[in-house]
Symmetry: C2
Subunit: 430 residues, 2 copies
């Protein structure tokens, strides 16, 4: 399969490389050419030639923290603080799910990712086999994240998942992880740390999302989650934390020293009133920051444009400084840094030999005009309406508002609403 | 012209009225029927029958504060504090504009409003004649706001504008206003207050947007802008303030007593690091709050979905309370309250006899599924991608991604980029 994108503005996201006019070719699942237009391309054999009409090709966004299958809880329980929301609303409903429910619930999430130009997710949820199948069947790239906690999971099950899903399918990989310090017994955390050293692999978890979480850990272990986990050897091979809103100086130093990724989730942190993460400070210290939507139960949308505006806007508010957080830095978080945090170094930027995970941004929309500075336009003004195409692993899965995922949208909506009706005893709301 | 919308979910936004299934008819520029489906409708004569396919009809959003023609500055000067941004970047470029430039620049803004389901704007800018023409020619509803300040405008010019634009065209009206206390000499403000009393009309202005603005006023007049303006009789017939971020207890009491509208602009307040307005407190006190995007130079997009998420999310962060600001309240701000603040009581809710300013929200998108609670879905998860149709004054101006405004989008983009090239000496950026 050979696809030629011609007449394109190309934003590779390579450090220091500006947007340029040219073409990009995809052969099977990889980028086979990026550069200027040449007369001989017109005569070559192509399966498809796409005139990009001076719109933008760029790497797909990487959603570095989510729980896709939580689509079933979108707007089910709103305007509640995290603990009440989690223990009184989320956990009881999750207990009613069947493993196979994760399949349509995850596909619904994947569909929304495609509309937002997201080409890969870092997905922490139950029944990872069904989540992996959803990715495989639709053509979406997913990195599963271990989610052990006191409700389930052990050293053995994590090791088994690690081996299974890192040898499952080219679109699927797996990183070691557990839910969070506050939901996981010390023994299990020690086991995870052991396993990380045995496998020489990084570890990911929800970290310091709320003040209460940090205070609880200080009460339990005499120190913050980051410092406690570091003290038990959790991060010998790196890893990262989701949220990282309430971080001490010492915590940030540990992140810096261990090369830990911070995955910020500003939409969720607003919605659950968790607070504003000190992103500017992290960047100053050289800590790599990626972006995630968190699950649709706490955000409620899966929209990288919203997260990009928020991470910048909230930082300006928190620092009382309109110059805080440059927009190119934000675009890097949403693409390259996310890819690195997720171990997806083969689809971080656009370059020959890299996997063809890329999107087309439609500039012929009023919100992208006039054209002063395209990356800033994308960060501050971009919207799902600008995603003209989403390609993953060389295949176009979404184009001009249509899905090419081997399923009809209506079929997925019906299946998801059936799950909701079954477990909540409600029919489709007015 | 008779249009029948059938098979619809209808959200009238009337107090206490839930969404119901039914139909809505438009005759010329008004809603002629809302209610249940009846067999006789099938046999009536219609110019067009639209099957809404169980999607949502609701009142259009009202953008209660903006400067549409500032589209020419979108992403021109980013990541700067308000004063530097305004005096060093915005004012010098504005000085190079020709009055007729406002025509295409405003139309570009109008096009973006249509993509976001915005059916009316409260527009403060120079050369209001061209702004009014842009609205009239495209079919958009605009309320012009007086913008007198030390760079231009007088009691006479305001009175003239008031009379001219309140008798201009059915889509155009005018409210008395001036830019802000910090840009307007005391004499001119006294004149505006005189005129307001003479015309028995409300007055609108930028109010208490930044800490520095309030401090400057305290230095100049010994009190806050709200209290100072009230002391000179500015609000005898009401009015409102745009932004109102830094308000004292006394300021809020004045708003309450005078029935002043607060128009919040959370996107702009993030972007310029102005702060978070005390919206929850205002609502508790019974102060009516509306929403605006502010101009595209400071936001940078004109997207009511973003403003709705932000006004809620920021309030939860500021109050450290995830229950702050109920989502139905937010939807009311974006529709009914905006209409009232702008004097558009004939298009505030969907009801028989009201003007047909309405939108169709597409629920058959992954971000709107499953269907638990539609208004919450719209507020927290909605996006421009969900705006299937925007109708103003009985005419469909935007439908399925296409504009019906008597102009081709490319023509407008070209004209806007030509203005930009002329005044900034740059050609279209890569």
């Amino acid at each position: 399969m050979k696809i030629r994108f011609k007449n394109a503005r190309i934003l590779t996201m390579k450090d220091g490389e500006d947007i340029f006019f040219g073409e990009l070719h995809v052969t099977d699942n990889k980028i086979s050419y990026i550069g200027e237009e040449k007369p001989e391309f017109a005569d070559a054999n192509w399966d498809r030639v796409i005139d990009v009409e001076k719109n933008v090709l760029m790497p797909g966004f990487k959603n570095a923290h989510t729980h896709s299958a939580m689509t079933f809880l979108r707007t089910y329980a709103e305007d509640l603080p995290l603990k009440e929301w989690l223990y009184e609303k989320v956990f009881p409903m999750e207990a009613k799910l069947q493993p196979q429910d994760m399949y349509p619930l995850s596909i619904l999430g994947i569909m929304e990712y495609l509309t937002s130009g997201i080409t890969a997710n870092f997905d922490m949820y139950m029944a990872p086999k069904y989540v992996a199948e959803a990715a495989k069947d639709t053509g979406f790239r997913t990195v599963l994240c271990g989610s052990a906690n006191d409700f389930g999971g052990s050293k053995e099950s994590l090791k088994n998942e690690y081996e299974t899903f890192n040898n499952y399918h080219e679109l699927v990989s797996y990183q070691l992880g557990f839910h969070a310090e506050y939901t996981t017994a010390k023994e299990l955390m020690l086991d995870v740390a052991d396993l990380a050293r045995e496998l020489k692999t990084p570890v990911y978890l929800h970290n310091s999302e709320t003040k209460e979480e940090v205070a609880g850990c200080v009460e339990r272990y005499g120190t913050t989650p980051t410092a406690f986990l570091d003290s038990i050897g959790m991060f010998e091979y790196g890893g990262g934390g989701f949220h990282c809103v309430h971080m001490t100086e010492e915590d940030l130093n540990i992140c810096k020293e261990r090369g830990l990724y911070v995955v910020s989730n500003p939409g969720s942190n607003c919605k659950l009133a968790s607070g504003i993460a000190p992103i500017s400070k992290m960047l100053e210290m050289g800590i790599p920051v990626a972006l995630g939507t968190d699950g649709p139960a706490s955000n409620n949308c899966l929209d990288m444009f919203k997260e990009m505006f928020l991470v910048s806007g909230l930082q300006k508010i928190a620092c009382e400084d309109a110059t805080a957080l440059d927009s190119m830095e934000v675009l890097k978080m949403a693409t390259v840094n996310g890819a690195k945090a997720m171990g997806l170094t083969e689809c971080d930027v656009l370059a020959e030999g890299k996997l063809a995970d890329l999107i087309m941004i439609d500039l012929n929309q009023p919100n992208m005009q006039p054209i002063h500075h395209i990356p800033k336009n994308i960060v501050f003004s971009g919207s799902k309406i600008n995603v003209a195409m989403t390609m993953i692993n060389g295949k176009i899965l979404y184009e001009n508002g249509k899905f090419f995922i081997g399923k009809e949208p209506e079929e997925i909506y019906e299946q998801v609403n059936a799950v909701v009706s079954r477990i909540m005893g409600t029919s489709e709301a007015i």
